[in-house]
């Protein structure tokens, strides 16, 4: 740590000394950005330093201090900042973390490190105290509204404070500004929202497929690995859709990234690779919001990478990472599907009429497996606009030889009296037992309950997440509203919907089903009632 601080201060001094060349460097930096070249470390730090100076002078004028979280991160400046760039839920606000190293380094060299740190801490405490006072008087600015909202008890040290993720705070201009700054730093273009949004969902992003993110990037981009660019495009254009497929594609792309990665000098693979992945994840998030399965896979990869022993060679580490990724895919997805199918087949009896909705890879696998094991049943496939995913499901089942019926979701009350069971797939299972799945699922579950038809949800355990949600508004995804435009008999009524200011189109992707409507959840650990999801999460955490 000591050498790093020393190195950092050296670089600062060198930067501070070249005052004349600063303006020249600024021009250089903006040119590099336009060309899409990755800024070198020095250039990045120079940018940072300027911003800090600018901000500090602004702050002194206003006399307002920003809240600094209790946990001080004593790490190198680069990793400090890059850690701060990522997942807002946990990190100290990026702007604030700048303060600590700078103020410390600028102190006269006569003071010892400990004294500097003590000064810093005292200053932070004073800032925090004054902040509390000011908060009581004035309305808090949006930039700190996130952390302050969750900080109910002023005097206690911060335990893990969960903040709202930024992708569901789109109507908050300060959060948007922060996001824009973060993307600028990572050199990822910001995707613009499209069209009028329904006011209930104005806190979510709404993108258009006609404006993919790559239009704003230079090709070939040196900042983002090409396989990640391809992946992002495949997500945003809907070529790869479905929770399992997205996760597997992501892991394969990361394998390619790891293959092409080479550790730079004076860096450790375990830390540098994790930092390299962060801009990629932001890019993918901009293309299409991450799914729960992808989130869990990313957590797994980051853990694997940071667990690489520092003395292992790069080649060995890469091979090991590849193996663990392959094992993850094999165990959590493919073997889990086999296990789930084994349990599910006990619930399929001869003569059953099974209703499925949309296209779930897992449910299709179960039905094909049951058909191979000579169970006699027929399937009713329910489909809905605009995605019409049921057609793919229908294609796969009919090819296998299963007797299928196809209806649209508007006809389910007509068809449900014939149905003996409903099999649904899930995008994620939340910690309070709610099932997050394709929009329309909760409608089917509700009707099935009314008709006393058992509803079975099939979900692998890697899709379980710690989130809690009771309605479909808080966190959702808005798809391209232009998908709703349909041409019938040569007429397209909604063609010019953008011009009509009081017309909003809503194309939701997910909805949330309460556990009262779900009779059984089949996971690779066995059959559990919907309310036992937190037990599984607890057992899983103990295992890991």
């Amino acid at each position: 740590m000591a050498e790093d601080d020393g190195a950092a201060s050296q670089r600062l001094n060198s930067g501070a000394g070249v005052i004349d060349g600063e303006s020249e460097d600024k021009a250089n930096i903006s040119r590099f950005k336009a060309e899409g070249r990755e800024l070198s470390k020095e250039e990045k730090q120079r940018l940072r330093k300027e911003k800090k100076q600018h901000k500090k002078s602004k702050k002194d004028d206003q006399g307002k201090t920003e809240e600094i979280k209790g946990k001080e991160k004593k790490s190198t400046m680069t990793s400090d900042r890059q850690q701060a760039q990522t997942n807002l839920p946990k990190a100290v606000p990026a702007l604030n973390s700048f303060e600590t190293p700078v103020t410390g380094d600028k102190a006269p060299s006569g003071k010892s490190k400990a004294e500097i740190r003590a000064e810093r801490r005292a200053r932070q405490e004073a800032d925090r105290a004054s902040k509390q006072v000011q908060k009581g008087e004035s309305s808090v600015t949006a930039a700190v509204s996130g952390p302050s909202k969750t900080k109910a008890i002023p005097s206690e040290p911060q335990p893990v404070v969960k903040r709202l993720p930024e992708h569901i705070q789109v109507d908050d201009p300060a959060v948007l500004k922060k996001l824009a700054k973060k993307l600028e730093r990572q050199q990822i273009p910001l995707r613009k929202d499209y069209g009028n949004k329904v006011s209930l969902f104005s806190h979510l992003h709404q993108y258009s497929r006609k404006a993919p993110l790559t239009q704003q990037m230079s090709i070939p981009s040196t900042v983002i690995h090409p396989s990640i660019v391809r992946l992002g495009l495949q997500y945003s254009q809907g070529i790869i859709a479905g929770s399992n497929s997205r996760c597997i594609a992501l892991l394969h792309a990361f394998k390619q990234v790891i293959r092409d990665y080479s550790t730079p000098q004076n860096e450790e693979m375990s830390r540098d690779l994790v930092n390299k992945l962060k801009p990629y994840i932001s890019f993918l998030n901009q293309c299409r919001p991450l799914s729960a399965s992808m989130g869990n896979a990313i957590k797994f990869i980051k853990k694997e990478i940071s667990n690489i022993p520092s003395n292992s060679r790069e080649e060995e580490a890469k091979v090991q990472l590849h193996e663990s990724i392959d094992k993850y895919i094999e165990v959590k997805i493919h073997l889990a599907a086999k296990a789930i199918s084994k349990y599910a087949i006990e619930k399929i009896s001869d003569g059953d009429v099974i209703l499925v909705y949309g296209c779930s890879s897992l449910v299709n696998y179960i039905l094909c497996d049951a058909y191979e094991k000579k169970r006699k049943f027929r399937v009713i496939v329910v489909d809905s606009r605009p995605r019409l995913e049921g057609r793919e499901s229908l294609r796969r089942l009919v090819r296998k030889g299963i007797h299928c019926t196809y209806v649209l979701i508007t006809a389910i009350s007509y068809i449900l009296p014939e149905v003996s069971k409903v099999f649904l797939g899930a995008h994620a299972l939340l910690a309070n037992g709610y099932v997050m799945s394709r929009v329309g699922t909760s409608q089917i579950a509700l009707l099935a309950k009314a008709f006393n038809v058992p509803v079975l949800v099939c979900c692998e355990t890697y899709k379980f997440c710690e989130r809690v949600q009771t309605d479909s508004f808080v966190s959702n995804e808005l798809d391209d509203p232009d998908d709703l435009i349909v041409t019938k008999r040569g007429e397209t009524p909604l063609e010019n919907w953008l011009e009509v200011s009081h017309l909003h189109l809503l194309n939701l992707v997910y909805d949330v089903t309460p556990p009262d409507f779900v009779d059984l959840v089949i996971t690779d650990l066995g059959m559990i009632p919907c309310t036992s999801v937190p037990v599984v999460l607890r057992v899983k955490n103990v295992d890991q």
Binding site: K347, L456, D519, I528, P529, T531
Partner: protein, 304 residues
Amino acid sequence: GDDQAVELVAYFKTQMQENPDVASAVAAIRTLLEFLKRDKGETLLGLRENLTKAIVKLTSVDSSVAVSSGGELFLRFISLTSLEHPDLSQCKKVMIERGELFLKKISLSRNKVAKLCHTFIKDGAKILTHSSSRVVLRVLEKAAAAKKRFTVYVTESQPDCTGLNMADALRKLHVPVIVILDAAVGYVMEKVDLVIVGAEGVVESGGIINKIGTYQMAVCSKAHNKPFYVVAESFKFVRLFPLNQQDVPDKFKYKADTLKKSNNLAEEHPMIDYTPPSLITLLFTDLGVLTPSAVSDELIKLYL
């Protein structure tokens, strides 16, 4: 092989006859322990296989859910220890000790349940129960011993009229008891304060499998907003997850003799039904007082 099986069944039947007060599952476990002691297997795996076969044999004699669940839990309990001894007889000794321990624990379980439950019976209460359950009897004994005054309505419980045995037992305790028709449950429901039933098996969802007529009683009590309590020992927890009445396996629905003799099961009357967890208020077990959703938690702990 076959001789062993015959011996086994004979031992089981004598156990049942000698101790009518004891649950059939307990008798089965005692039989299994005896079988373990007499087993002449050479390997651990062989021992386990023999025990599994024995459990299957016993379920063919008495097809209640409790026998199969008790047997499986017994097997798990005795093998859930380090069996790293090089000598088979050592291992067997350890397993037998564990078996004795298991047996002791479950013979105490009924008292534990009674202790938890009798406090829920208030003075002057009117209780409705279904058919004959020894656990419910123990609970009511304890409540009577605690000097509480209460009346009990018992259903006759056709087709074997076991409700009448329950009524006799209660009369011996000097508890005022009224026997009602199975069809009169809805009629009587407005008069009672609470419903207590036993269970033959507690399933993963938190629902129960019990004598036919329990489901009706649960639906009526839900409609009248009366609490529906279930008393069951923990060895009755079974890894089934029925979705509806059809989904309960046939081997539990009918008596063992019926299963063997009948040609068309659809014409037979089922002996048990399934009550879903949404209709049950609380379950009293020796693991504590549980809500139906907590049963899954306990099952995961027991079986995993």
